[in-house]
Symmetry: C2
Subunit: 335 residues, 2 copies
Amino acid sequence: MAGRLEPTTSARAGEVVRLPPGSRDILPEEAAELRTITDALTSLFMESGYGEVRTPALEYTDVLARGILGDVAPSYRLVDDRGAWLELRSDMTVPLARVAATRYPGHDGPLRFWYTETAYRPVPALQGRSRELLQSGVELFGVEGAEGDAEVLALTARALERTGLPGARLVVGDARLSETILAGAGVDADTIAAAHHALVNGDHVLLERLLAGAGVPADRARELAATLRTRGGADILTTHADQLGEPGHELAATIARVPSAQRERIIVDLGLVRDLGYYSGLVFQVLDPAVGEPIGGGGRYDELVGRFGDARPAVGFALAIDSVHRAQAAKGTTR
Amino acid sequence: MAGRLEPTTSARAGEVVRLPPGSRDILPEEAAELRTITDALTSLFMESGYGEVRTPALEYTDVLARGILGDVAPSYRLVDDRGAWLELRSDMTVPLARVAATRYPGHDGPLRFWYTETAYRPVPALQGRSRELLQSGVELFGVEGAEGDAEVLALTARALERTGLPGARLVVGDARLSETILAGAGVDADTIAAAHHALVNGDHVLLERLLAGAGVPADRARELAATLRTRGGADILTTHADQLGEPGHELAATIARVPSAQRERIIVDLGLVRDLGYYSGLVFQVLDPAVGEPIGGGGRYDELVGRFGDARPAVGFALAIDSVHRAQAAKGTTR
């Protein structure tokens, strides 16, 4: 493992040749290991009928801003030679939604795209997070509901097989579940929105306090918070069916469609939410016991493509290559 | 051939979803062809003992500025969250020189690095040039003179074999040749510098005028300009030996070391100069009859690494993947 985050010193009069915090050089030994991962994913995606798409790293800010369906993600912005604002892409889903809408207008069948590209995210110093995030992933356009969701979940699971991560799991939920659960318990919309933020931050203490503040009796608030913490097999969708409504039915149908070898990696999380605002249905994170944060994730974003042209359903996932590498290294399964 | 430069329109109320001029999306058919090219180069570089290096796209401007040994290239700059200037790399040679100096201080043997990365160059609108330039190339550190130069020239020629460009040629010179020729004819240093700029722009009319203005008799000025336009086999280094001094001897020795199968692609150009200021010896361009501008190039830059740490000799080349693809497409040799 070479190429860590420390600034390195030059031999010139003690001056320091630094890299921006959160970015680093990748030297040959590590680069070869990362390339083994991306090559394995490339093969899988191509075998699975996906075609590679590349987009510019720099796009107009007002174009990318159409993809904002929630909080604005921090991004690197600059002014070009003609006074227009440009921005370094902070994810690949928004540019690929733009491609689907503008390059394939009126296209009938499904579109299957894959990419291995870098996304750029300004991060506070000293947090150890990466500013330049190499990701491999897919976006599937034009396939609705359980059919598209199951295809992407199964492909994610196969990606974990190919990269040699037997312990990695897909923690799966639906962006509408927490709202369904809370609205069904009579919680008002403002509290639901605040609860959503608490769930993004995993703050269940705040969640209970919010519910109590909204007039929910304390033991009922504790019960709801417990439901939103519930993780387990697909059977919890049955046992909680009366609280989960249509999103619960759809998620159960999706999981049933995933081939059993891949389904074994799936864990249902009734309170899973993701911080990207464009998710409209299925959401999931890829967790590996060797890495302290998600190594990937994805979900359905049926409202996004229409921001750039003809609307169409969409679902996708991405793996952070560096995180996959750390997961491999931690269990000594680097292949 | 998909993914051209035209802005595309969205279906939404006639609003246009544009990309910045000079950038574009690459759709699956073309992306697969580009990947065939980069895969072929990856295999060649790895067989040849080179190791992949990746560097951040964004670096501190004051670090990259150490690599400026001539005119400042235009670049995309922005201010980070702590008020420091960052810049998107405009080539890969400067970052890899930084890596050699700072990550391998005191390293004795040669270092052989390859990369496939994007460089970012602000370009005036309407010129049809790319803002985001995908390049594959190598840098060889620690091997001096003819030995290192011949290795890189032979590798460049093999890269053209692997990518199926039988008509592509290496037009080879030495950054010191024009100065040697002009100084040997008694031309002063200021005029030599101005003549260098005229050669970069291929302006031989201006060149003759500059020489005449510096007091060189008209027929002698015409003769010198003709010498600086001379292209041919390695034999022109012998026929002009009295004007070419040590750089001419070195270039002849370099070419003699290139295996004959690769040597056949080499054309000597006595007046070849490149616009990057860091070249200190060998310079070359890769030309293909199907493409109107160089599809690649390289050279020796022995003064650059010392700007970041311990000095060491260095030579490298890069191919512009998009240009290689255009050359293939024009002759129908896409493989």
